[in-house]
Point group: D2
Chain length 153, copies 4
């Protein structure tokens, strides 16, 4: 299973796909900063928007021939995010494997505060594409593969 | 659609069904108290436990002949709940209608801090039982009806 | 404490303040529709945006002289909302009391599916303005009061 | 920053600290399994319980001399968890560094289904202890350090 280096993700440009959002009032925890797991919620929201723009709206894909469950997720927290912060969640990289007919993708995320541009977190999720009936690995559909590959260029 | 009076709910005894829980670290909001909608999450958690004890585990009922969507929910917030508070969420009342072959139930909740017993909130949810295939109203199964009626005695 | 009639909320026009959002992948429950309490999250998100546009960003107000805790919230669920639905959450009404120097506001919400316009839910929240130090009722700041009153015209 | 190997976490015994919980109705996503970020919520719930048992209730620690923000979190998903599953979330390991006067701890988690014992996920969180005023690294209090070290024995 491929993973990006945290420092590599930090250095990547924001790139083409960014979802802007506010840190929500209810996503803060008793320590007054965003609850760490909610950062992954925001990454997933950006992933959902990316899929829709790539022509694979997730709510339609869920009733289609393949599913792509997450088998790994992680995040590094660099600066606290607070209610009132506006952030951009960017999909900055995608690594597909195997090179021939890839069935798995690792997506890298970069979260920065809008305004001062301060980098707040990086993250990554690993999605394995499987046949919805047999649960055997299945190739990532070609146009989605191309949209993912475009994230890293 | 039947609704309980807020003051009536406040006066009811805790009764037979109470789910004890901690106010979670991540359920607090940027104002430092429990986010108001999470109180309904806690009511639903108690409802799920009640159904299981009544012999109708919700995860099994979901694939059965009826469903019971919520068509109204409300809560009154009397005292702030904070991270570190331990609370009891009690199902204190159930009103079924129509009297003959009821198809709808209004469940009343009472949430109090454990320790000093201070009343923190009251709430209610209205569930309509419908056939899972036709969406027509269907009578509440008898043993569940009896378990619900027992809440008000 | 003032409350709107459910049927009155249903008939109100969408009005000037609408926050558009997608039903999130993670806000659906095991029955496949939006978890009922999340509808109140979406109402609060719209309230936060309204406050910001009215010149009272909540993250700044939280460190100011007044707070406005919610002492009642409710929602009526008319049509199920599912992942993939795009919805508009409108603030459609505000009732302030007492008439002279109001200290409490009931805000009405109307949630409709974008596209077919189907009404999915109505809701309301009651906010009491109190002095952040003494917890005594304090008048709603004039410009905020005017922004709230404008919701009902 | 120390990280456990995924396969090492999988092989560890459940050990002394386990928090049992149900997969909640509202923590499932539109694909019908637990939303991946909620698994980290459950890990944090277990961490909060562990801290309380170790004599450092987090709600009290939050107003004390140190804080311990999370700077990394990750999880590997091995089997889907569904509403109706009852799970045990175990703290199975803790790595402290530096060896002399440690200021950072990596905690390993193991989540298994109760009943058949099937391993569903492993995870880890990295907490850095800092002075609440200066944000400089500060040693982990001795009795907490001992409670953490006891997780790995």
């Amino acid at each position: 299973m491929f993973r990006f280096e945290r420092d590599a993700l930090k250095l990547l440009p924001e790139g083409a796909f960014v979802r802007r959002t506010d840190v929500r009032f209810q996503d803060v925890d008793a320590a007054g900063i965003i609850f760490y797991a909610r950062v992954l919620d925001y990454c997933h929201d950006a992933y959902v928007d990316f899929l829709a723009r790539a022509g694979f709206p997730l709510h339609e894909a869920l009733s289609g021939p393949w599913i792509a469950p997450i088998r790994h997720a992680e995040a590094d927290y660099l600066k606290p995010m607070r209610f009132g912060d506006r952030i951009g969640v960017a999909l900055v990289a995608a690594h597909l494997e195997p090179a021939e007919e890839p069935t798995e993708v690792t997506i890298g995320y970069r979260i920065a505060r809008i305004g001062d541009g301060e980098l707040a977190a990086v993250g990554q999720t690993v999605h394995t594409f499987v046949d919805a009936a047999t649960f055997r690995r299945t190739p990532i559909p070609e146009s989605l593969r191309k949209a993912l590959q475009a994230l890293s260029t």
